[in-house]
């Protein structure tokens, strides 16, 4: 008996439709979030993440409606985020049906937000998203969808974020995102070792071998991907069967 490694499809939305882009740019339509969520729920996804990547302001009513419609179809946990800057905005997202809230830029600007969310919803509901880009021998935190660099060191920020109340880290490699060249296992392993909470690896997934690598060498607790699932490049079930045959504990629903 042991905790299964999780496979998490991610729906990047413009609030209403699922969109795709490389390095957060050049967005294309990739479908209806509710349809995709229903499909992934049935195919054995362990959780689902829905992001409003176009959010420039809190609580767009259209995104809340998307969360509501998506949650309606799910029998697995739902994480939602994008543009959440306040406790009030997080409450609306939870009321709409999200089990966890993910915050990124707003937490960098005001780390106390993590403590406020954790006090209200519990650490297990607070996912700190970190976009990290290699800078020499370290990784630098980026914000605003990966477009803007900060002076923060990713390892230090991850540790601080957990102290402030984050119960999980969603770690995206800015270098690998959209490249389909594999996860940044060195980054993932470094962060996973640095914190006591689970780490979700993101950015660069394409092949089943990439997932195997990030679970074994990268010490990831979960791995997230978007377009390879949307485009049927990789089925969740096929991926999990591959991982299981390679000794990774995964949940295979009947």
């Amino acid at each position: 008996m042991s905790l299964a490694r999780r496979i998490i499809p991610c729906l990047d939305t413009d609030g209403v439709r699922v969109v795709k882009g490389v390095h957060f740019e050049g967005l294309r339509d990739a479908g209806d979030p509710v349809e995709l969520a229903t499909r992934y729920n049935a195919e054995g996804a362990d959780e689902l993440v829905v992001l409003d990547i176009a959010a420039a302001r809190d609580n767009r009513p259209t995104f809340l409606e998307t969360i509501r419609r998506t949650a309606e179809q799910l029998t697995i946990p739902l994480t939602a985020g994008g543009g959440i800057r306040s406790l009030e905005a997080a409450r609306a997202v939870v009321r709409a049906g999200a089990d966890k809230i993910t915050v990124n830029t707003a937490a960098v600007h005001r780390p106390e937000l993590l403590s406020e969310l954790s006090a209200e919803f519990g650490a297990q509901a607070v996912v700190l998203a970190i976009d990290a880009k290699r800078a020499g021998h370290r990784w630098q935190v980026h914000v605003r969808g990966g477009r803007e660099s900060t002076n923060l060191d990713a390892l230090e920020w991850a540790r601080r974020g957990v102290q402030m109340g984050a119960g999980e880290i969603l770690l995206t490699s800015v270098d690998r995102d959209g490249t389909q060249s594999g996860f940044d296992t060195a980054l993932t392993a470094a962060i996973s070792k640095a914190v006591s909470v689970p780490v979700i690896a993101s950015g660069g997934a394409k092949l089943p071998a990439h997932f195997l690598e990030v679970f074994t060498q990268g010490a990831a607790d979960a791995a997230l991907a978007a377009s390879i699932f949307h485009d049927h490049v990789q089925s969740i079930r096929g991926l999990k069967e591959f991982l299981r045959s390679n000794g990774v504990v995964v949940r295979l629903p009947c």
Partner: protein
């Protein structure tokens, strides 16, 4: 049968309500003491911090109504924190008293593993369980917690291991509890809820 769902503001109330409605149940979501005391089938969901749950139960004066419903034979299901609240106290809020319906103390899982215990895990059967009836033994359930109740009480029907062994399925006469989230545990979770409703009927 009508299910009374205790709504004290916990984050997972809407998803538990959705899961019950999906099974075709009539759900009464309430924080009113009279309705809770008179319930025949009572569900206490919970997620987050134990102190918030205890404070909310006290703010609505719900200790006595919950006890009264259980003593009058109502089927009770505690989910996650709702299970933990049945014990005497929790290390998470050491200064507060929990419901004290069962003896024992909720403690933090060891630091030797990643916390929160977050994700899908399997169970270890201790004895035949009504909640787990007709569910394959290797099924996975979704957990999201850092504190847990002891595995050793005679109310343990199944346990789980993460750092240490703890109670995952609680069954004692009309009192039921699950440390995992059946409302988020796919088909297996839905079957647990169905089994509870059958036991309550």
């Amino acid at each position: 049968m009508k299910v009374t769902l205790i709504d004290y503001g916990a984050g997972n109330v809407p998803s538990v309500e959705r899961a019950l409605r999906r099974l075709g149940e009539q759900v009464e979501t309430t924080s009113a003491a009279e309705q809770i005391a008179a319930a025949r089938c009572l569900v206490l969901p919970g997620v987050g911090h134990c102190a918030a749950l205890i404070a909310a139960l006290d703010a609505h004066s719900l200790r006595q109504p919950i006890r009264k419903a259980i003593e009058s034979g109502a089927a009770f299901l505690g989910i996650c924190l709702g299970l933990q609240a049945l014990y005497e106290s929790s290390e998470e809020a050491a200064e507060l008293q929990s419901l004290g319906i069962l003896p024992g103390r909720v403690t933090r899982l060891p630091e030797t593993v990643k916390l929160p215990h977050m994700g899908w895990n399997t169970l270890k059967a201790i004895r035949p369980s009504r909640l787990l009836d007709s569910i394959p033994a290797d099924s996975y359930f979704y957990f999201a917690h850092s504190f847990a109740a002891p595995a050793s009480g005679n109310e343990s029907a199944a346990t789980c291991i993460h750092g240490r062994e703890f109670i995952a399925v609680l069954e004692k006469e009309n009192i039921y509890g699950v440390q995992f989230h059946p409302e988020k545990s796919g088909a297996a979770g839905a079957q647990v809820l169905r089994n509870f409703l059958r036991a309550a009927a």
